[in-house]
C-alpha cells in the first residue's frame, strides 16, 4: 500500500501545482502585475502543457515515438475555428463560452477521428518506421489543410478543395489559413483543459487499460501472450492523445485572429517532444513544468530567443546521452541512491 500512497501523493502534488499556478497567475493578471506579452502567453502555455502531457501518453506510457502530434493540433485548431465561426455566423450563437466549449469538443472529436484513421495503418509499424510515418502523416495533414477552403453564410458551411470561390465569408482560406477568427479563448478554459488532461492521463495510466499499454511498451510479445490485445491498447493511447491534442489545438486556434497551418509544422511536433524529453519521458509532472517553463522562458529572455532552438537541440542530445549511456546512467543512479529526496519512485508509472 505504501507504493499506492506515494503515487496518490505524487498525483496530488501535480494537481496542486497546476491549481496554484492558475490562482497565482489569475491574481497577478487581475492585479495588473503581469506584463501584456506574458498575459498573452497564458492560453498558449495551457495549450502546450496539454500537448506535452498528451504526447507523453504516446511516447512515455505507450513507448512509441510520434512525430506528427502537431498535425492533430492543426486538425483541432481548424475544426475549432470553423465550428466557432459556424455557430456565430450561421446559428447566431452569441454566448462565447458555450461556443468555445463546443468548438473545443468538436476539435477533440475531429482530431480523434484523424487519430483513428491514422492509427489503423501506423500502429502496425514499429520503432523508427512508426516515427517516420507519423511525421509523414503530420505533413500530409498540413498539405491537405492548405488546399481546403471553407466559408459560412446563413445557409451553413460551404467547403471547397483547391477551390476558393465560395459564397459567404471565408473562414478558411487555403494556404492563408483561417482568417478573421473571433478570439474567444480564455485562460480559465485553458486551466480547465489542463486539469481535464491531467485527470485523463493520470487516471488512465494507473488503471487496467494503462497497465496494458505499459505492458505492451515493456514487452509486446509477453503482453500478447498474456492475452492483451496489442492493437486495441496502442490505439487507445494514440487516439486519446490525438483527442487531447485536438482540444488543445481548438483552444490555440481561437486565441489568435489568424491561424495558418505553418504554425503546426513538423518543428512544433519536435518542440513538444523537447518538452516531453526534458520533463522526463513518462513523467507527467515533468511535462507540465517543462512545457510551461519553456514557453515562458523565451518570452522572459528576449535575447535568448535567437539561440532557443539551438539550445533545445543541444539539450535534447545531452539529456538522451545522460539518460541512456550505461556508464552515466549507473553513476546517476548511484548518486540518486545517496540522496534521500532524489529517489525515483518504483515502477514505470508517471509522477
Amino acid at each position: 500500500m505504501k507504493l499506492k500512497q506515494r503515487k496518490f501523493l505524487n498525483n496530488l502534488i501535480t494537481y496542486a501545482m497546476v491549481v496554484a499556478a492558475y490562482v497565482i497567475c489569475t491574481l497577478l493578471i487581475n492585479g495588473g502585475q503581469m506584463s501584456r506579452s506574458l498575459r498573452g502567453q497564458m492560453v498558449p502555455i495551457c495549450c502546450w502543457v496539454v500537448m506535452a502531457v498528451s504526447l507523453n501518453l504516446v511516447v512515455g506510457i505507450s513507448g512509441e515515438l510520434s512525430l506528427g502530434h502537431a498535425g492533430f493540433m492543426s486538425v483541432g485548431a481548424f475544426s475549432g475555428v470553423i465550428t466557432s465561426g459556424w455557430l456565430l455566423n450561421s446559428l447566431q450563437m452569441e454566448d462565447a463560452t458555450l461556443r468555445l466549449v463546443i468548438a473545443i469538443v468538436a476539435g477533440g472529436i475531429l482530431a480523434g477521428i484523424a487519430g483513428v484513421l491514422i492509427g489503423i495503418p501506423v500502429l502496425r509499424l514499429r520503432g523508427d518506421y512508426l516515427a517516420i510515418v507519423t511525421l509523414a502523416f503530420g505533413e500530409i495533414i498540413r498539405n491537405v489543410l492548405n488546399c481546403v477552403y471553407v466559408s459560412v453564410d446563413a445557409d451553413g458551411l460551404h467547403m471547397g478543395f483547391l477551390n476558393p470561390s465560395l459564397p459567404g465569408t471565408l473562414l478558411m482560406n487555403g494556404p492563408m489559413g483561417a482568417i478573421g477568427v473571433k478570439k474567444i479563448a480564455t485562460f480559465a478554459a485553458g486551466f480547465v483543459l489542463v486539469m481535464l488532461t491531467l485527470v485523463v492521463v493520470l487516471n488512465l495510466s494507473s488503471s487496467r487499460s494503462g497497465r496494458a499499454i505499459m505492458a505492451i511498451r515493456d514487452n509486446r510479445i509477453a503482453a500478447e501472450s498474456m492475452g492483451v490485445p496489442v492493437t486495441k491498447y496502442k490505439m487507445m493511447a494514440f487516439v486519446t492523445a490525438a483527442v487531447l491534442a485536438g482540444m488543445a489545438g481548438a483552444l490555440y486556434g481561437l486565441n489568435f485572429s489568424t491561424v495558418t497551418s505553418d504554425k503546426f509544422k513538423f518543428d512544433q511536433s519536435i518542440n513538444v517532444l523537447v518538452f516531453v524529453v526534458l520533463g522526463g519521458i513518462g513523467s507527467v509532472r515533468g511535462s507540465v513544468i517543462a512545457a510551461a517553463l519553456l514557453t515562458v522562458l523565451p518570452e522572459l529572455l528576449r535575447a535568448f530567443s535567437e539561440y532557443r532552438m539551438l539550445v533545445y537541440a543541444i539539450v535534447l542530445i545531452l539529456v538522451m546521452l545522460a539518460t541512456n549511456n550505461p556508464l552515466l546512467k549507473g553513476w546517476l543512479n548511484a548518486l540518486r541512491e545517496h540522496l534521500p529526496f532524489g529517489r525515483k519512485q518504483k515502477g514505470g508509472e508517471p509522477a
Binding site: 515493456d218 500478447e224 515502477g347
Partner: protein
C-alpha cells in the same frame, strides 16, 4: 511422483501418441496436436509432431539444442502459424488464431529468455496476467467509477494470492526488472498462472537455478498442478527435474519426435540415449 504406466493404459481411450496418466484417462485431452509442422524457407523446423496431454498431466519436452522445442511452444501459443497439421486446445481448433486468442483459450507460457514487464512492479506484472480475468473499461478507469475501486481491490488481492505461491507477496512493489534472476523466473510463472490457464507451458524454468532452487521449483510445479488442476508442458535441460516430475516425456531431435514415454522408458530408450542422454551422462 512418476505414475507408472504399462503399454495397455496408453492405448485407450486417447490416441496412441499420448502418454496420459491414469487419472486423466477417459477425460478429453487439454492439448492435442496432429501432424503439426512448420517450415522456415524450406527448412522443416518441426515436422509431424503429434502430442496429446491430459488435463492434469505434467509432460516434458526434451531434446538437444536447436531441436525445435521452443518452436513447438511458439506453434502452440500461435506466435507462428503452422504450415501443416493442427493444434487442438480443449478440443478446439486454433487455426488462424492470434496469440491473444490462444491465451484466452487457456494456454499460458513463460519464456526461455525472460520477458517480464521490466519497468513495472511485480504486482502490476501479475495484474497484466489478470487482464482478462478481472475486467473494466477505459472510461471506468478514467472516471474512477465504483466498479474501478471494487475491481482494483479484487485484482490486488488476487495478485497477492498468486504471488504467495512462491512467497513473493513482500516483493509486490519492487520493479520487476530489478529482481534477481531466479525470482524473475518465478514471477513469470505466477504471471502465466494469473491468466487462469488450463495448460501451462514452461520454457526452461530451471535455467540458471542452483540445485536447491531447482528442487524447490520441482515441488512447486507439482503443487501448482495439484492446486490449479492444470496441465503443464515444460522444456528443460535439467534431467533431474524432467525425470523427477514429468509423467510423460517427448524427445525431439531435428524437429522430429524420436521417442515418447515415461521417464523410465525414455532413460532406457537406446535411440534417446544415443541422441541425447549419452552426452548428458558424460557431463
Amino acid at each position: 511422483m512418476t505414475t507408472k504406466l504399462n503399454a495397455n493404459t496408453r492405448m485407450v481411450p486417447v490416441p496412441s501418441d499420448s502418454i496420459v496418466p491414469e487419472r486423466d484417462l477417459g477425460k478429453r485431452p487439454i492439448l492435442e496436436t496432429r501432424h503439426l509442422g512448420i517450415e522456415f524457407g524450406g527448412l522443416k523446423a518441426v515436422d509431424d509432431f503429434n502430442l496429446t496431454i491430459g488435463p492434469t498431466e505434467i509432460a516434458g519436452l526434451i531434446g538437444p539444442n536447436g531441436a525445435g522445442k521452443t518452436t513447438v511452444f511458439n506453434l502452440l501459443t500461435k506466435v507462428y502459424e503452422p504450415t501443416s497439421g493442427t493444434v487442438l486446445i480443449n478440443g478446439r481448433d486454433t487455426h488462424r488464431m492470434t496469440v491473444t486468442q490462444a491465451c484466452r483459450l487457456g494456454v499460458a507460457r513463460t519464456f526461455q529468455n525472460i520477458r517480464l514487464f521490466d519497468k513495472m512492479t511485480v504486482e502490476d506484472n501479475v495484474r497484466i496476467g489478470l487482464h482478462n480475468q478481472i475486467r473494466y473499461g477505459m472510461m471506468t478507469g478514467i472516471l474512477r467509477l465504483p466498479a474501478f475501486w471494487q475491481k482494483e481491490k479484487r485484482q490486488h488481492e488476487q495478485a497477492l494470492d498468486l504471488l504467495s505461491i512462491f512467497d513473493m507477496q513482500d516483493l509486490a512493489d519492487v520493479t520487476a526488472g530489478s529482481l534477481p534472476y531466479g525470482a524473475q523466473r518465478r514471477l513469470e510463472i505466477v504471471r502465466a498462472l494469473a491468466t487462469n490457464p488450463s495448460l501451462l507451458l514452461l520454457d526452461e524454468p530451471a535455467a540458471g537455478m542452483n540445485p536447491h532452487e531447482t528442487e524447490e521449483l520441482m515441488r512447486n510445479i507439482v503443487r501448482i498442478r495439484d492446486q490449479f488442476q492444470i496441465a503443464v508442458l515444460l522444456i528443460e535441460h535439467d534431467m533431474r527435474l524432467v525425470m523427477g516430475i514429468c509423467e510423460g516425456i517427448c524427445v525431439l531431435n531435428f524437429g522430429k519426435v524420436i521417442a515418447k514415454g515415461t521417464a523410465a522408458e525414455i532413460q532406457n530408450n537406446p535411440v534417446v540415449v544415443e541422441a541425447y542422454l549419452g552426452k548428458q551422462k558424460e557431463g
